[in-house]
Amino acid sequence: MSMASIIVAIIAFVLGALLALLTIPVLVWLERRTAGLVQDRLGPNRTNIFGFRLGGVIQSFADVVKLLIKEEYYPSHIKMGKWLFMLAPIITFSAALLAFMVIPFADTLVIDGEALRMQPIPVEFGVFWYLAIGAVGVIGVIFGGWLSHNKYSLLGAMRAASMVVSYELPLGLAIISFIITYNSVDFNAMVEFQSDTFFIFLPAWGILIQPLASVILIVALFAETNRNPFTVAEGESEIVAGFMTEYSAMKFAMYFMGEYVAMNTASAVIITMVFGGYQLPYVSTQMLLENFNYFAYTLMIVVPVFVWWMIRFMRRNNRVRPSVSTDSGRAYETKVISIFLVAMAVIVDVILLYLALSPNALATQIAVTLLQIMVFVIKLMAFNMFFILIRWTLPRFRYDQVQTLGWYYLLPLSLFNLFITAIVVVGVNS
């Protein structure tokens, strides 16, 4: 254990925790704003600290404060297993959080000949870890529903449990066909495989190599996260609010945040297995390291253009309508954030110019790692966005439709796909 490996391990862990936890308020905000814009309204945009509203993100932090200081209320009929009743949301939350911890944010960093994995939990059996831990989340839901001593909660928990069982099979089979294709159970090796090309010009992304398995994977992960259109566990119209009926304040918030962490984890798994993970299409890590100065020059153009676009977007949208007389500090906020963004762009450009002009192996490697983390975060957010937009597009499935889809369509299709994959892989290799 060298100094560098310890530092990298700590940084990877902190980064993983931040990516999982800090995205919760951002995702809550994103969900509400997106819902607003899809439905031709605005969504939360008023809460501010010293006039800085950041498009309304502050609202989520205010909600956190509200939930923290809210009264903890326990129904009096819960006598037995009250500690488990309190523990249940934590199980769901931490299962989703732990499942996220095996996702690689960047390629293996080689410092002094020592390979350091950019994973919060540096293991080589990431897929198995995900399958094992990801399925634990529903145990929290079952405990919560059972110990609430409430028929609606019990029904919701049973529905969630049976849905997870039915979708675990197609999910597992789809993942097995990916394992056969990529010839690895290591998430990082999967991403490395996807940086190749395929059919001469297509990027070898899972969605192009294994389209059927990709669709099954995405559908099954939508079901695993209990999000629309698979929200059978908490149908307001049928079973009040499902398993979380008896939960209040922070215990409710744990379930609520668990759903967002699960969504984030599902997005991370999907982009890692299907959409090339932290890689840009056609660009492998080796290529990035060898031609870093070209990438640096490209980035030096891309960053200011992005910042210019961002400032223009802000000037156009961060203002009140002409019919309203008060501005409530929006112009000031736009000015300060613009200056901040320009300063950031200048600093990034100077660093990139320095790296491009005076190549230093270690610095280049770290810069490439940062670039890959950026790509990962952008892809993660884009897929989270997709999750959210699907929620506001599709209506909820009826319970029997959910089961029919799982058992009659996805399971045979995934078995068929596994069969075809095995034949093709054996045929290509022999």
């Binding site: 814009l37 031709d40 605005l42 156009r316 949208n317 203002r319 019919s323 937009l389």
Partner: protein, 174 residues
């Protein structure tokens, strides 16, 4: 008879419908279009920035906050008959009657208060009033306060509300 029957086509039987993914694509097209047009110019979203922009399209039939009307000589129209309090399903009207000194009528309310935290704004008090003394045509749609007492409207407050749609005085008692 039979020519009036319209046969609506049933969807969901064709292969494309059963595949379901084209439908998801069509739905996503709609949501994405709304999302990106509104994201591009959020000021074009057809909505009201509420506290700054007030609604200008409140109709005469809108049941706003209550008011007590006046007679043509600016005395109170209410004769404290308790009809409104009796009709009230939420029991939120509290009246104390007293003898009327100005010779207009026999009784008038000494205290008249409406607890708007309990009021369900059904308008039964307005229907029940024989004197057109209580009305809900103020057009006031928001009532804010910091403590419970702020939401109990007393007689002075109810008398101070103005009718928003022209009919200022009581039509029944003059």
């Amino acid at each position: 008879m039979s020519k009036n029957i319209i046969t609506t086509p049933r969807y969901g039987k064709s292969f494309k419908d059963k595949l379901y993914l084209p439908a998801i694509y069509e739905g996503c097209k709609v949501t994405f279009k709304h999302f990106f047009t509104n994201l591009n110019d959020s000021n074009a979203v057809d909505t009201l920035e509420y506290p700054e922009e007030q609604p200008r399209d409140i109709t005469e039939r809108y049941r706003g906050l209550h008011r007590l009307t006046h007679r043509s000589d600016d005395t109170i129209a209410c004769v404290a008959c308790f009809m409104c309090a009796t009709a009230c399903p939420a029991d939120c009207i509290f009246i104390e009657a007293t003898e009327r000194e100005d010779g207009k009528d026999e009784k008038m309310p000494k205290k008249f208060s409406i607890d708007t935290l309990e009021c369900i704004f059904c308008g039964y008090c307005v229907e029940a009033c024989p004197c057109d003394a209580i009305r809900m045509d103020t057009g006031i749609f928001s009532l804010t306060g910091v403590k419970r007492e702020d939401f109990v409207l007393d007689k002075e407050r109810l008398l101070s509300h103005k009718g928003a749609f022209g009919e200022e005085k009581s039509c029944a008692r003059n």
